[in-house]
Symmetry: C2
Subunit: 388 residues, 2 copies
């Protein structure tokens, strides 16, 4: 297996983007990444695309071929593979691309993640999102992702793992960072009271505990580490990428105050990268709901069980704290165009490890981690990048 490097990154702005189509967004992110890697495009020999539901959001399946076509890759018959794993679509596409390069099957691979969510009604959006829960045993009972996460939050509060205020501080942290990211959907810092007094979505989760509906696309270019200097003088090494599954339905778990798939993927990712949680300087975690962000901090080993909420409240996950978390703004403030999220996380970590993160730069970061979740912890990818 060869070592793999990230040699290019690109992203669109995230948000309600009314003047660009799905394909416009995908191409914008891809072209930016190729330009960043100093590629003309003819070097690319493989493509992977993360997307949850173009089939329902824009009535278009087969977007691997679509993206290959519109990126000018079809004329050279470059293979393009679409991955779907709900919220983890982008992260798994990234991992497949890493595997393709590590194995020697491909040399220059572009990974894109994209979702256009705002072209359908709110009712349709909810139906599409909830189709990633277990249809037979969850959705038919009226359960939604917000209510599933509310149950987790209630249990965590009951077990004194986190307080309502600590949970809310996760959103304060994400917004503080998002205000510094020009590509973020929400660029406004908020205070704790704003989160606590927001309209209720699913008790105890209010509107500011939930990530928004977003349009957007992100892309990264990978190649073997020993070829990277040919394209860029600032490659970032992919130290590891690990994936794990859990039950689709939440009620089948022994314990809903931890995501076993995060624990399993993190364990493997640290082991492959030959580092420990304490070595991580910057992390992007999947805060689709604030409680998911808190769980991630614990399950990744960044904080001890029961101490993550306090750490967030104390500013320990801000830039300058113990470990900077969601410096991009996270799903909450950067936005969450589902299939793009896992790739956007890699874009942010790469920026941090290159020293390109401007006002939100973490000083001297050596290792960065991205944690991307599908469903209620049903599929998790943890990838670790290393500054070289």
């Amino acid at each position: 297996m060869r070592d793999v490097a990230i040699i290019g990154i690109g992203t669109t702005k995230f948000g309600e983007i009314w003047d660009a189509s799905f394909r416009d967004l995908g191409i914008e992110a891809g072209l930016k990444a190729m330009h960043d890697a100093n590629l003309t495009g003819s070097e690319v020999d493989g493509m992977f695309i993360g997307n949850m539901s173009s089939g329902r959001f824009i009535n278009q399946h087969h977007i691997g071929a679509l993206i290959a076509d519109y990126a000018g890759m079809a004329s050279r018959n470059v293979p393009a593979t679409r991955i779907e794993a709900a919220g983890a679509s982008g992260g798994i596409a990234f991992r497949q691309a890493v595997m393709a390069v590590a194995s020697g099957m491909n040399d220059i691979v572009i990974v894109g993640g994209a979702e256009k969510m705002t072209d359908v009604t709110d009712e349709a959006t909810n139906s599409i999102l909830d189709s990633a829960t277990d249809q037979q045993w969850e959705a038919t009972m009226g359960v939604t992702f917000a209510s599933l996460n509310a149950m987790i939050a209630r249990r965590c509060i009951h077990e004194k793992i986190v307080t309502r205020e600590e949970m809310a501080s996760m959103a304060v942290n994400s917004h503080a960072h998002g205000a510094l990211n020009p590509d973020a959907q929400f660029r406004k810092a908020i205070d704790l009271n704003t989160v606590l007094k927001a309209s209720m979505v699913a008790d105890p989760l209010g509107m500011f505990d939930c990530a928004p509906i977003s349009d957007g696309a992100s892309a990264v270019v990978l190649c073997p580490l020993d070829m990277a200097k040919k394209y860029t003088d600032r490659p970032v090494k992919v130290a590891s990428s690990a994936q794990a599954s859990d039950t689709l339905a939440l009620f089948q778990r022994k314990n809903i105050t931890t995501f076993d798939a995060t624990v399993a993927a993190a364990k493997q990712a640290y082991s492959l990268a030959k580092i420990e949680a304490k070595d991580i300087a910057v992390a992007e975690v999947h805060d689709h709901f604030t409680i998911e962000g808190i769980l991630a901090l614990q399950d990744l080993g960044l904080f001890k069980r029961g101490e993550a909420g306090k750490a967030v409240m104390d500013g320990q996950v801000m830039v300058g704290g113990k470990v900077a978390v969601n410096t991009s703004g996270g799903l909450k403030a950067r936005g969450h165009p589902i299939g793009a999220t896992g790739v956007a996380q890699i874009v942010e970590i790469t920026k941090q490890l290159r020293g390109d993160a401007d006002k939100r730069q973490v000083p001297n970061a050596k290792y960065g981690l991205a944690q991307n979740v599908g469903g209620t912890g049903s599929a998790v990818v943890v990838s670790i990048m290393e500054a070289i």
Copy 2:
């Protein structure tokens, strides 16, 4: 890169299966494949799932996690990755699984393909199928897959590449073989007149030129070739698996009487397997429409351009002919549960190379090929298997 072997296969019957759900079908195929490979399940360390549109056919996304869960793999956090590439979903899932084992990332991988198409109305089915054409430039003009293939057929007749009767004989061939396959959707031989006199779908294609709507699932188990004898005394080697893209929309092609992606994937597959087209004894080709079957025979190099139709008419693609094609019954008679098809092709080729194909057995077959197509030739996978 390690050599990879197929050590287990399993499939459900294909057809209108009203008494089984999507998950029932997937599990049936998977359990059969694991049983065939003498596995208990605890050996599996990776899963890949090919599926086109569970999101619309059964309102369920995130089926990687679903299948991992219901296969009992979630308790061990086995990663499961879903691939979507319209009709090529199964074939690309297979290729990703081959890559996972070849690279050393996984040892024992199960690949499943599944689709449950008959739980929605015919109108919904058509809308879902057509969402794999280019929505912006094809579907909005009223184009369907049948009409796209009818245009190809018209052009091929005009250029004297094939006659209407020769095209029809492709369906006769598939039905003759399907009659011998206990798992096929249609198990009845038909004559040329039946095809020619059938109700028109899109001139010149009639009902018997088109594959049916089907439910079904298939699965195969892969491991490194040098571990295969531990599990089975009849492993089949994966000699190569290659994938290529073309434009999503048909009108953008220079020539619609050939699928460039088939030509490109076949060239690479033969090269990697170190064989030529003439070495292939048995092939499963993607005859979603009879004209696609004819194109495949030419583009794969099994027959010269303009000679494939005559060869089919002359019985040269029947068992006992020059090269046995679609001994399973093909998409036309075995059925076409979209995501399952690419995996079902591998199941049939494995049966043939093991000598397990009963009344449709090709004698002494050394090399078998599977060609799986997404869209109108927009994504093609060609895999070659070798008897050892």
